[in-house]
Each structure stands twice: as C-alpha cells, then as structure tokens.
C-alpha cells in the first residue's frame, strides 16, 4: 500500500510534465497538422539550456528555467519560419520528411556541442525530501509539479481566453476566413508552433534536473508525446493533459508491478490499444482529425 | 429529348429515406424511383439536400431510416466497392479524377472491374495477363472515342481544361460498365456550347441502355434531357414529374425565386 501511494505520487509529478509535452504536441500535430519529429529535440533542448544556464553560467535556477522556456519558444519560431512556411501547401509526407531531416540535424548538433555524457543539473532545493506519511517527495519534484500545473493553466488561459488564442483557434478552423478578418496567418502559425515547442522545452527543463540530461532523451520523449496526443484526441488540450497523467500512471505502475524493462513500451502499447478501440482518442475534440 | 421508357421496370428505388445528422434533419421521407432506361434529374436550391440525397442514393451514406434498392438489391447491405459491382456507378463533383495519371491511365483504372488478373498471374507475368492488358487498352480507346477526348489521351488528367475534366470523369465511370450512372453536377463550369455537346453525349449514353440519375443546377440541361424531375427543398420532395409539369409548378417557382433563379 505504501509502495502504491509512492508510485501514485511519482506518477502525479511525472504526469504534470508529460501533460506539458503532450499539450505542446497536440497544438502542433492536432491543430497545425504537422507530424512534428522535432518535438523531442525541443524537449532535450530545454534540458540542455537549463543545464547550461545553471551549471555553465551559474544563473539562478528559476531564472534559468524561464530562460530555457523562452529559448525553446524562439527555437520553435525559427524552425517554423525557416522550414515549415514553405511546406504549408505541400503534402503530409514531404513535411514529415523535412521534420525528420531537422530532427536528425538537431540531435547531432547537440551531440557535437554537448558530447555524449549525461549531464546533471544542480538544484537549489534542500536535499531532505518532503515526507507526508508513507510518501517521500523531493522538494525539487514538488517544484516541478507546481510549475507544470501553472504552465498548463497558463496555456489553457492563453488558448481559450486571450485574443491570441482566439486568433489561433479561428485560423485553424478556417484559414481563409480568418485572414479575411485581418488575422495575420503567418504570425499565428509561427506563434502556435513556437508555443508548442516552448512547452516541450519547459517539460525538458523541468525534468532535466530530476533525471539527467542526455542528447538522446528526446527520442523517448517524442514517442511518449505522440502517445499522449493520440490518447487525448488530436487537438484537445484537456485530453492531452489527462493523457499525460494516464501515461505517467501506466509507466509508474507498470514498471513497478510488471517489469521495469518495458517501462518505455507502455506508451506504445497504449497508443496501439487506443487506436484499435477508440481511434478518435478518449476525449475527442471536435473537428481536429488528421487523415 | 425524352425517350419513351421501354419497360416500366424500376431500376433504382428510394423508399421513405430520412437522414438525420445529429439533431439536423437533412432529408425527410424521400421517395422516388428511376425506371429502366430513364433519365431522372434531381434539382433544388442550394442547401436543399441534393448532395446528401445523392450520397445516400450512391451508397456512400447510410440513411437514418428508409431503404435504397438497386435492381432489387438493398444498397446498404453492400460494401462501398461492391456498389459498382452491381452496376451502379457515380461520378464526383470535385476531386473527380486521378490527377497525376494521364487520361488514358484514368480510364484504364476505371476498367478495373473488367480485369481478372490474379496476384500469381501478375507476378509471373503470364500470357493470360498480358492478353488481358491488351484487350483493356483497346477498351480504353473505345471509351475515349465515345466521349470524344481521344486527342488528350497522353495528357495528365489534372492539366485538362475544366469542361474536359468533367468529361473524363464520365469516361472513367463508363469504364466501370454501369447499368446506371449517377452524375453529380457534371456540367458545372461548362459553357453553353459544351453543355450542348454534353446533352448529346447523354443521349448517346442512353442509347446504350444505361439509366441515369442526374443532379444539376443548369436548368436548360435539365429540362432538355430529363424524362422526369425530382425537386427537393429543405430536405423534402416538393414536386415530382415530367419537365413541363415541373416548370409550371407554383411551389417550384416559389422555391427558386426565393433563392434566385439561374437558368429556368
């Protein structure tokens, strides 16, 4: 029972960051209809930026976190502007291949720059964990959970309550009408991709200190992000958020009680099951399907 | 330009078809039929439910209630690709071609049902398969000549002028050997001269004993070729009869005048 509670606590914390990852991708895959193979690299980028600013430049931990997210947003904007704008009228295969090329280049640039050794990110939190009954959580993880939830809330408010969010939703429902109403489509596309990428970077920056930062951490993260988006339904933010938690639970409980070797397989198995039995996702958002 | 029907036998019957989309009633209690050898047109103002009706009648959409029978076979028992197998072939208004294939290849693909080549005869390139390919090629020329686009045979479908694209769509449908053709706004975008040629093509098709259901906006075309006309408005049939009756029908006039008359 104690173990179970601990697993649940771990899952909640992991779930928050997974939710960020998933929401970021559902914006890009679900709403922009881009099969984004660079999502994992943005995640890794966030982790490396956190490492660089804290460990390399000696910045305040929280400022470094903020910086990592900002840079993630900028990198996303750059990718959209340089690569995706041309591909907007192309077919989905070609866009996918361009994203694959970008992914390969990014991961190997990271390898060149950072090398293959895992990096750990120093944190300012006390080393003694917070103990509640049988559960013990490090202060770092408490921070991660709170930060993730705040970011999820902020994103939700941005999309549903802000003018930018309204413009985004309008653009992806009906591009022509939106542009006739004076919305700058190019800005919206860039902003959406940047936002999605920023969320991935945030997830990476938050989880980087919890685990370690490596150049290949993006690969598993990317596939998990896809799993979350599919479970939640393409384009559904609530779905992605809940999906993130579901995946975290499946991983924690699965690796705790079944076998740790298959931990990463949980995501894929969930994808396959969901797509076979409920292809529109568990929380279907109207009108946002691909293919 | 009407033809007396040879027999009174019904080839396509639509019985009390109703279609609900969620809370919206797109079509309610639609009943009409097409006799063998007839040309029936389905008309109505925009939003009347013609597209929905067409999709039901071609087996692409299952009605909420009611049935569609083609030569006695209930369409909704069939899988989508089996509909052509019983002799009912439709055209499409938009996305009506294989745009990256040539005109020749388009029609050749339409001849799919004529082929019998199996996986083995293909992989082993057996003589039976090669003979069949040769026969199919001839059949393609025959159809291209019939429709009148042979001179375009080696051009890409997508590069044809719009009017000829519509003709190609009809050619592809004819290739599938239908006993009944369902044409979805085939004359859309045609100029009056092309429309006139199209009316003659329809007559040629009918001389091959192919029944036709036509959805159209062009009144000159509709009045000129139809044996009977079905008029839809707000998902209901408001008139059903010979062209002269329809033209005089006050309800029809009201329905169109309310939305703006085009060609009548």
């Amino acid at each position: 029972m104690d173990q179970l509670l601990q697993h649940i606590a771990n899952a909640l914390i992991l779930g928050g960051t997974y939710a960020l990852l998933g929401i970021g991708l559902t914006l890009i895959l679900g709403i922009m209809k881009v099969v984004n193979f660079t999502h994992g690299e943005l995640y890794a980028f966030g982790g490396f930026m956190a490492y660089y600013f804290v460990s390399g430049l000696g910045w305040n931990f929280f400022l470094a976190m903020g910086m990592a997210i900002m840079l993630g947003i900028l990198l996303g904007a750059l990718i959209e502007r340089v690569l995706l704008r041309r591909m907007r009228s192309a077919d989905i295969d070609s866009t996918m291949v361009v994203m694959i090329g970008c992914w390969i280049a990014m991961q190997n640039i990271a390898l060149l720059v950072w090398g293959g050794i895992a990096k750990s990110v120093p944190t300012p939190f006390p080393t003694d964990p917070l103990v509640i009954g049988p559960i013990s959580i490090s202060w770092l993880r408490v921070f991660v959970l709170i930060a993730a939830l705040l970011l999820i809330l902020a994103t939700y408010l941005l999309i549903h309550k802000s003018p930018l969010g309204k413009a985004m939703r309008a653009t992806f429902q009906d591009r022509v009408t939106a542009s006739l109403m004076g919305i700058n489509i190019n800005v919206i596309y860039t902003a959406t991709f940047a936002l999605g990428s920023g969320l991935a970077a945030a997830a990476g920056a938050l989880l980087g200190p919890v685990f370690v930062v490596t150049t290949t951490m993006g690969n598993a993260a990317a596939l998990k992000a896809f799993a979350i988006v599919i479970m939640g339904g393409l384009g559904s933010i609530q779905g992605a958020a809940i999906g993130g938690f579901i995946l975290a639970f499946a991983e924690e409980l699965g690796s705790g009680y079944i076998s740790s070797g298959y931990r990463d397989a949980m995501g894929f198995i969930l994808i396959i099951l969901v797509l076979m039995f409920k292809p529109t996702g568990l929380f279907y958002a109207r009108g946002e399907r691909i293919g | 330009m009407t033809q007396a029907t040879k027999t009174q036998k019904t080839i396509l019957s639509i019985d009390h078809v109703t279609v609900h989309f969620g809370g919206l009633v797109a079509i309610s209690d639609m009943t009409f039929d097409v006799k063998e050898g007839e040309l029936v047109s389905l008309i109505g103002p925009n939003g009347a439910g013609k597209t929905t009706a067409f999709n039901v009648v071609t087996g692409f959409l299952r009605p909420t209630q009611g049935e569609v029978h083609f030569r006695g076979v209930s369409l909704h028992k069939l899988k989508p690709h089996e509909v052509a197998g019983v002799g009912l072939v439709r055209t499409f208004q938009r996305t009506s071609l294989f745009t990256t294939n040539t005109v020749f290849e388009n029609v050749l693909t339409g001849l799919h049902r004529h082929g019998r080549a199996t996986a083995w005869s293909t992989l082993l390139s057996l003589p039976s398969m090669r003979r069949e390919e040769a026969k199919l090629s001839e059949a393609v020329w025959e159809i291209l000549d019939f429709i009148g686009i042979s001179h375009r045979a080696n051009e890409l479908g997508g590069s044809l002028p719009y009017g000829e694209q519509r003709l190609l769509g009809v050619a592809v449908a004819l290739a599938a050997n239908p006993t009944m053709l369902l044409l979805d706004e085939p004359a859309a975008g045609m100029n009056p001269s092309e429309t006139g040629d199209f009316m003659e093509l329809l007559a040629k098709i009918r001389r091959r004993n192919i029944s036709i259901l036509l959805v159209e906006h062009d009144m000159r075309l509709v009045m000129g070729v139809s044996d009977r006309i079905v008029v839809l408005n707000y998902g209901k049939i408001i008139a059903y009869g010979a062209p002269a009756e329809i033209q005089a029908n006050p309800e029809v006039i009201r329905a169109y005048l309310g939305h703006g008359v085009k060609h009548a």
Binding site: A90, G101, Y262 | A84, N101, T102, H112, E132, N177
Partner: protein, 352 residues
C-alpha cells in the same frame, strides 16, 4: 538505346566483385544493397500505395531474427518455467523462407490495421509497432539474448548432390545472393506496379473515393501491398542476418527506417528507380563523408541534404531528372493504339 544501357548495367553488376576487390568496399556494397531492397519494398507501400508506414525496419528485423533463430535453434522456458519450447537448428535457407513468411504475416496485420487507422495516426502506430518489437527483442532475453546479441549465425550455403557443398563465408557469394534478391524484388515490384493491381494501388493513393466508386476493393490492395512489402523486407533482413552473422535489438532502431524513408523520398517515391538512386546516394554518402568528418557531422549533412532535396526537388531526384530528360528529347512514354487484333471489336459491355 535503353536496352543497351540495361545490359551494360547488368554486366557491371554481375562482374562487380572483379572490379571492386577491396573487401571493405564490397562490404559497403552488400549492406547498401540490402538496404536498397528494404527501400524498394518500402516504396511499394509508401510510394505506390501512399501509406505512411514508418515501422518498416520492424519487418526487416523480424525477418532477421526469425531466420537467425530458425537456423540457430533455441530452448526457452514458457508458462513461467513449467514448460519448454525447444527448436533444433534448421538449414539457413529454411530460415530465410520462414523469415520472409513471418514478416509477410506481420505485413498482413499492419495492412488490415491501416485500413481502420489512416494518415498521421497510422504513422504513429507503425512507429510504435517497431518500438514495441525492439523492446521485446531487448527484454525477452531467453529467446533473443537481448542486448548480448544473437551471434554465430550460420552463413548461407548449400549441399546438393551433383553441385557439391558450398558455404558462403566470403563476401563475394553473399554479394551475389543480395544481387539476386534485389533483381527478384525489382522484377516483382515492376510487374505489380505495371499491372491492374498496381493501378488499383495508385488509385487508392490518389483518390480513394473515386477508386471505390469504380469497384476497387481498397482494403484488399492495401493489404496485398503491405504483405509483399513486408515479405521483401523480411527476406532482406534474413540475408542480412546470415551475412553479418550477429544481430542485436539495435537492428530495430528507428534510424534504419528513417534511412530507408530518406532513400525512397529523395530518390523519388512511386518510381521504380527512385529507391535505388536514393539508396546509392545515401549508402555511398557515409563512406565518402567518413574520411573527412565525424559521424555526427555526417548525420547533420544528411539532415540538411534531406531538407534541401524536399525543398528543391520535391518529387525526388528520379522524377525531376526524368521530366527534364523527356522535355529535352520529347520522348515521354505514350500510349498509342495497337493494330486491331483478330479477336477484337468489343464494346465495353462485352469485354467482361
């Protein structure tokens, strides 16, 4: 003119070991050749039938493991240790046949699945499928040795009365084996795509509703394409296992699927020569780059190369070059009327 070129090419290929005596380069040719077969098979499903299948390496790896395990034999506990399944080693040629068959069956499953799940969803499912297979290979240590790898896989050979016995330890016979499979694959794929079946596949890629409306059973052709595609990949994988003679779960890595996708898309998907041209380029590129740059730099170059090719030659190299050639020489392939045959004069209704 075209025939002369083909004959010359075939002669060059048949005599290759004579003019590439360097064993290292011959090795590159063999592995590139195996990947080209993989790319050709992927092209059938991705290029001609238009299915975004990104798990292709799974078929390759399944073929490899099946063939290896068949020819090595295994002894594994099942039902939590209560039972054992024991398999005696069989001849590698049987392994290859089984590898091809099992991969084909997996292709059947994927084909059926893809019908329910389309577009980008299907991409994700196929990637997941390959990853799950990789994790199984990694974790089911009793069967696959996990990360410790299956080693000492016997090379292919034969023992026939009259022809004697030969075991393919050397590179040259393996090269001919790969060449043979590549030629078979090419001929089979060519026959399929230029037939009624091929037209149906292309139709389903281009305009599925229209294809259905003329009576094409879309599921059937999709499944057929998937089975053939998977079986050929499985055969290539099997050959790989017996050539390299050691395989581990890394063979399922996504990067190999990506390599094949790159070969197909840059070469020209939906063309016969596309995957070959793409395969040669992306097989040769590493060799050329290896001398001058670190592996990471190589991959960066590929990444950028892919992006540039999609930007500037969106249909791929072969279609772009071929269009250019046809425009210059006015020699586009054309359908023309045949001379009336003796048994002709049939109208469409009668030609059933």
């Amino acid at each position: 003119m075209k025939n002369l070129g083909t004959i010359f090419l075939l002669l060059a290929l048949l005599t290759l070991p004579l003019w590439v005596p360097d064993q290292y380069y011959l090795h590159i040719v063999i592995t590139t050749g195996i990947f080209i077969i993989g790319a050709m098979s992927l092209n059938l499903l991705l290029g001609y039938t238009g299915q975004l299948s990104l798990g292709h390496i799974a078929f390759f790896g399944i073929g490899a493991y099946t063939s290896a395990l068949t020819s090595l034999g295994f002894d594994i506990p099942v039902f939590w240790g209560d039972g054992r399944i024991i398999h005696e080693a069989w001849h590698p040629l049987i392994g290859i046949l089984l590898g091809t068959f099992v991969a084909g069956v997996c292709g059947y499953v994927v084909g059926k699945l893809s019908f329910k799940i389309r577009g980008a969803y299907f991409v994700i499912v196929t990637i997941s499928f390959a990853e799950v297979v990789r994790l199984v290979a990694l974790n089911w240590v009793d069967l696959t040795q996990g990360p410790m790898a299956l080693s000492n896989i016997p090379p292919i050979g034969y023992n026939l009365p009259g022809l004697g016995e030969m075991v393919f330890w050397a590179k040259a016979p393996n090269y001919y084996l790969v060449l043979a499979l590549a030629l078979i694959a090419y001929v089979l794929i060519r026959r399929i795509v230029r037939s009624r079946m091929g037209r149906a596949m292309i139709a389903l890629r281009e305009n599925e509703s229209l294809a259905t409306s003329v009576g094409i059973d879309v599921t059937r052709y999709l499944v057929f394409a998937a089975v053939v595609s998977a079986a050929l990949a499985g055969a290539a994988g099997s050959l790989y296992a017996h050539y390299i003679r050691i395989i581990d779960p890394d063979i399922f890595h996504f990067i190999y699927t990506v390599t094949m996708v790159i070969m197909v898309v840059t070469g020209g998907k939906g063309t016969l020569a596309g995957p070959i041209v793409g395969g040669v380029i992306f097989g040769a590129l590493p060799v050329g780059l290896r001398a001058v740059a670190a592996p990471e730099v190589q991959w960066i170059v590929y990444g950028i190369a892919i992006i540039l090719i999609v930007f500037f030659l969106p249909r791929g190299i072969v279609p772009t070059v071929s269009d250019y050639w046809h425009r210059k020489t006015g020699s586009a392939p054309r359908h023309t009327r045949a001379m009336p045959l003796a048994s002709s004069k049939q109208s469409p209704e009668q030609a059933t």
